[in-house]
Amino acid sequence: MRHLFRKVIIAGLLSSSLTTAYAEGEQYFPLQSYRVGPYAAGGTGFFGGFIDYMQHVNQQGGVNGVKLVWSECETEYETEKGVECYERLKGGLKGAPAAATNPLSVGIAYATLDRSRKDKLPLITINHGATASTDGRVFPYVFPLQLNPYSEVSAIVNYIAEKAGGKDKLSDVKIATLYHGSPYGTETNGVLELLSKEYGFELKLLEVPHPGNEQQAQWLQIRRFQPDWVILRGWGVMNPVAIKTAKRYGFPVDRIIGNIWSNSEEDVRPAGDTAKGFVSITTHPAGTDFPVLQGIKASVVDAGKSDLQDPSRFGTVYYNLGVVNGILNVEAVRLAQEKYGHKPLSGEQVRWGFENLNLDNKRLEELGALGLVQPLELSCYDHEGGGAVRFQQWDGQAWQVISDWVQADRQLLRPLIDKASAQYAQENGITPRDCAPI
């Protein structure tokens, strides 16, 4: 049974009459969730974890006594529905002000990029989103927390270098990248080419058209190229099909590295036994052993209040991403409360909390999330913060973590980000804020 706080947002529908007087002690999170359509598996896991963590926080008395409330709006992962949801929910819930939006969709994130600036409502795009928005000078309200697409690729290349015995050995390495035929898929091609020039590895880029259920031609080409590693930049059905087709054409599955959207249980399970040995990156290990997850289990899941329909998904990659996202959001609110007072805060105030977020291992240990969340330090200049990933391998039943945190070369990539954000600023007539670069 799902226990959701669902309310008709009549206030939003009929008029946007914003009451400025906040309700007693409630902070609101609008959820642009997606539980149907091709990406439903990701949506139910992520929002399940997010909601369960918020329930857990409320059980412990909320954030300094401020209770968290939320309501959902189904987007089906479609941009225009996400926009409608954004507009419907941004005004808060019964007087409780909205803290931040977390759409977990590149399309929706882009469509609300400009709106979030105008509405002064933080837009959190954990592990995804526009790479350029790492630059907080141009995008004060956007936070691609933990990992942007460039860092992701750089960390993978660094891992491959580690396996090859150092970056100087990369010149003997061949890497093929299989990417989804969409803006998301093509986003990192430029960075890969740059890194290939920088380190001298041989690179082959192969596109798989959406949705990706035919990949023979690509894998035959990969087989001829004989790469040491294949980076899989997949999406939905493309992932299991890649694994299966690799097997059918004799490419070893443990030489494929899945990216951040090719790393969930839902991406490998459909491939069955074939997927055994498949490697992928993650910003947060799957598993239930972390104290924070045990806490959620005790207070929410075992009490029958979990948002998950299928309890066996507790502790999976998407669920834990939702939990991590919950932790980061709540920590931002907590931090902002230290500055603005223990009361419900406006989006503008919560934004300050995000920008000054500084989670070290000590704080992570207190949260019971050491090893689940990477140390994160944000600033006006840097809205990403971490840029590290761990590698995990599928053993047929579950993901096993096989590496420590591997850091991306963020300094190397920063000029590219600055260029993109400058272009955005120029096209949109934004004057960048003045931050002292680190």
Partner: protein, 293 residues
Amino acid sequence: MEFFLEVLIGGLLAGVMYSLVAIGFVLIYKASGVFNFAQGAMVLFAALTYVSLIDQGLPPWLSLVVTAALMVLLAVAVEAAVLRPLVNRPPIVLFMATLGLAYVIEGAAQALWGTQVHGLELGISDAPMFLGGLLISSFDLVAAGIAGLLVIVLSLFFSYTQTGLALRAVADDPLAAQSVGIRIRRIWVIVWSAAGLVALVAGLLWGARLGVQFSLSLVVLKALPVLIIGGFTSITGAIVGGLLIGAGEKLAEVYLGQLIGNGIENWFPYVLALLFLLVRPAGLFGQRTIERV
């Protein structure tokens, strides 16, 4: 040269999988003149039902029987709720109705069984195979064999049974067939059931290739150009069309893709079909004379 042959053979085997979906179209088009866009949704529905029943703990044979029975039930429902009320309406209206039908079936399948993705193991080997130095996917080979078998069974059915004869009569001239006492509604139910069973076979094979999930219904988009090339009324045409499209798109992806950029498999079949149409409007094996102005 070796590589060329590998791509070619891989493409031909993929083409057989396209034909499998296209055959469902041909059956229905032949008997009722309906271009059934919901065929892809039926593939999804069949595969999802089968997998979900297995997940519920049913043995495979029973799941198969239950799913097959559901497909027949679906055929009866379609005849009663869509075909009968729309009798004598132009084909384009029937086509649009099947678009609606596709929505209904997809929505119902997911409302019934949920949106989780499932793996499906049929016990067919995935290991690569070498034939005379050429790499061939054993899975695709077996799948092609099953598709071939299905075609033979269907051909026998339509050639040598009373129902098959009636069906051909209806396809030839519905009015004349009715006047000699063939009950056309029964024929509709039979062909839609047959198409449902073809969808089941296609669903299982495609499901084993992709995993069972929403995008199974998108295979319909691959079947369309196959039909254009093969003609709407010929099972042989569907097979040949499938082979042509499969081989064509893979070769194009590898060789043309190097020239103009890769990832062209989505549109190439359509452009191929379009060129084909301009040269040979009725398709390779189509019976219907094309309307010309």
